[in-house]
C-alpha cells in the first residue's frame, strides 16, 4: 500500500494515472450535471414561498460547499506534503487555490443575486455571507504568499504552514461571526436526520453537488498535469512525450 502510494506520487506515474482517470471523471460530471440541471430547472416544482427564485440553490449550494471543502482539501494536502515531503501535494495545492477562490466568489455572487429579490438587498452583513467573504480573503492570502516567494520549495512550505494555521482558525472565525450576527436561513441539508426539503427538489441538488465535486476533480487533475509538465519540462519522459 505504502509502496503503491509512493509510486503514485512520482510525477510521471501520476501524470499517466490522471490521464487515464480524466475521461471517466469527465463523463460522470456531464451525466450528473445534465440530470441535476434538468431535474432542478424543469422537474422540481416551484417553491411555495420563493417561487422559481429558489432554483439558484442548484448552483449556489454546491459552490458554497466546494469553497469550504477545497480549503480543507488544500490544508490536508499541504500537511501531508510537509510531513512526508511529497512534491505532488504542493502541485495539488497550487492548482486548487485559484479554483477554491473562484468557487467562493461564485457562491458570493449567486448568493447576492438571490438576496436581492428575497432580502431586498444585494448584500447584508449576515454571518454566513461574511464568513464566506473572509474565506475568499484567506484564499487570496494563500495565493499572494505563494506568488511573493520566488523559491518554489520555500513557497510550498510557507503556504503549508499558513493553510494549517488557517484550518485551525476557520471554525473560530466562523463561530465568532455567527455570534456577531445572523440572518441567513438555517441549514437545509442535514447529514444526520431528515433534510428540510422535498425529495423532488433534493435529488437534483445532490446530483449537482456531486457534479460540482467531479468537475473540481477534473479541473484539478488537468491543472496538475499542466503543472507537472511545466516543472519537469527538462526531464526525459516529458521530452519523449513531445516527440
Amino acid at each position: 500500500m505504502w509502496l503503491w502510494f509512493n509510486k503514485l506520487t512520482t510525477s510521471k506515474v501520476f501524470y499517466q494515472f490522471a490521464g487515464r482517470l480524466l475521461p471517466w471523471l469527465g463523463a460522470l460530471t456531464i451525466i450528473l450535471l445534465a440530470y441535476g440541471l434538468y431535474g432542478g430547472l424543469v422537474l422540481a416544482p416551484p417553491d411555495y414561498q420563493q417561487g422559481d427564485a429558489f432554483r439558484i440553490i442548484y448552483v449556489h449550494v454546491p459552490c458554497a460547499l466546494l469553497s469550504m471543502m477545497i480549503y480543507v482539501f488544500m490544508a490536508v494536502a499541504a500537511a501531508v506534503g510537509l510531513i512526508f515531503r511529497i512534491k505532488l501535494a504542493d502541485m495539488l495545492v497550487t492548482a486548487s487555490a485559484p479554483l477554491g477562490a473562484s468557487f467562493t466568489l461564485l457562491a458570493l455572487v449567486t448568493g447576492s443575486l438571490w438576496g436581492k429579490p428575497m432580502w431586498g438587498a444585494w448584500w447584508v452583513w449576515d454571518a454566513r455571507l461574511t464568513s464566506e467573504l473572509i474565506l475568499l480573503f484567506l484564499y487570496l492570502g494563500v495565493i499572494a504568499l505563494r506568488s511573493a516567494i520566488p523559491d518554489r520549495e520555500q513557497a510550498a512550505k510557507a503556504c503549508a504552514i499558513l493553510l494549517i494555521v488557517g484550518v485551525i482558525n476557520i471554525p473560530i472565525i466562523h463561530y465568532s461571526v455567527y455570534w456577531w450576527n445572523t440572518l441567513h436561513q438555517g441549514a437545509t441539508l442535514k447529514l444526520f436526520g431528515s433534510s428540510l426539503i422535498a425529495p423532488s427538489m433534493l435529488h437534483p441538488l445532490l446530483a449537482m453537488i456531486a457534479a460540482f465535486i467531479f468537475y473540481f476533480a477534473v479541473v484539478l487533475l488537468l491543472r496538475t498535469r499542466c503543472e507537472i509538465l511545466k516543472r519537469e519540462r527538462k526531464s526525459r519522459w516529458v521530452l519523449e512525450l513531445k516527440n
Partner: protein, 224 residues
C-alpha cells in the same frame, strides 16, 4: 541551561534591544494617536455618533498599530545573522520566540493599551466601559501579536513584506476584533461581559502554546 533561565535571559536581552531603539516603538504609538484623531474629523464630532463607534474604532486602530509594529520583530535578527544562530542553537526555538514576543508586548504593545485608555474619553466612551476596554485589550493584544508574528515569520526576507503580512493576518484578527470590540460595546450599555472576556482568554490560551510552534516552523522555512 534550563528553560526558565533561557526565557529570562532572552527576555532581558530583547527588552534591552528594544529600549535602545525606542523610536521604532514610538512610531506605532504616534500612528495610533493620529489615526484616532482622524475619526472625529472624518465622521463628525457629535458625541452620540462617537459614543456609538468608539469601541470599534479604538479596537480597529489598536489592531492596525500592532500590525505596523511587527516589522522590527525578526527583521533585524534576520539581517545581521542572529536569527541563523538562534536556529542553530540547541535551545528550543519556541521558548526563545515566546520570550521575544513577551518583550515586544511589554515594551511596545502595553503602552498602546495605555494610550487607548487615554483616548477613550475623547471618543466619549462611557466611563463604565473603561475597565472592559482595558481587560479586553489586555487579553486580546497578545493573541494579535502571536498571530501577527506567524505572518511576519512567513514573509521573512520578502521585499516590501509589510503589506503582505497585513493581507495574510487580517482575516485571522476578525474573531479577536468581534469579541474585543463587542465586549466594550456591551459594557457601555451596562450588560455583563464575562462571556466575551472568557472567550478572549480562551483564544489566548489556545494561541500561547500553538503560535510559537508555527512561528518556529515558519522561521526555519524562511532561513534555508
Amino acid at each position: 541551561m534550563d528553560l526558565y533561565r533561557l526565557f529570562i535571559t532572552t527576555l532581558r536581552l530583547e527588552a534591552l534591544l528594544i529600549y535602545r531603539h525606542y523610536s521604532q516603538v514610538l512610531n506605532p504609538l504616534l500612528f495610533y494617536a493620529m489615526t484616532i484623531s482622524l475619526f472625529p474629523l472624518g465622521l463628525s464630532p457629535q458625541p452620540q455618533l462617537l459614543h456609538a463607534v468608539a469601541p470599534g474604532v479604538l479596537w480597529i486602530v489598536a489592531l492596525l498599530s500592532i500590525l505596523l509594529s511587527l516589522h522590527p520583530l525578526f527583521e533585524g535578527d534576520f539581517a545581521d545573522g542572529t536569527l541563523e544562530q538562534l536556529l542553530l542553537s540547541p535551545q528550543p526555538l519556541s521558548i526563545i520566540i515566546l520570550a521575544k514576543l513577551l518583550a515586544h508586548w511589554l515594551l511596545s504593545v502595553f503602552p498602546l493599551i495605555l494610550l487607548a485608555l487615554l483616548f477613550a474619553p475623547l471618543l466619549h466612551l462611557p466611563l463604565a466601559a473603561m475597565g472592559t476596554l482595558f481587560a479586553s485589550l489586555l487579553l486580546g493584544t497578545p493573541v494579535l501579536l502571536l498571530i501577527g508574528a506567524i505572518g511576519k515569520a512567513l514573509t521573512l526576507g520578502i521585499r516590501n513584506s509589510s503589506l503582505l503580512v497585513m493581507l495574510l493576518v487580517l482575516p485571522f484578527y476578525i474573531p479577536v476584533l468581534i469579541l474585543g470590540a463587542g465586549s466594550v460595546a456591551l459594557a457601555g450599555t451596562g450588560l455583563a461581559v464575562t462571556g466575551e472576556l472568557a472567550w478572549l482568554g480562551a483564544m489566548l490560551v489556545l494561541a500561547l502554546p500553538l503560535a510559537p510552534l508555527a512561528i518556529a516552523a515558519a522561521l526555519r522555512v524562511g532561513i534555508n
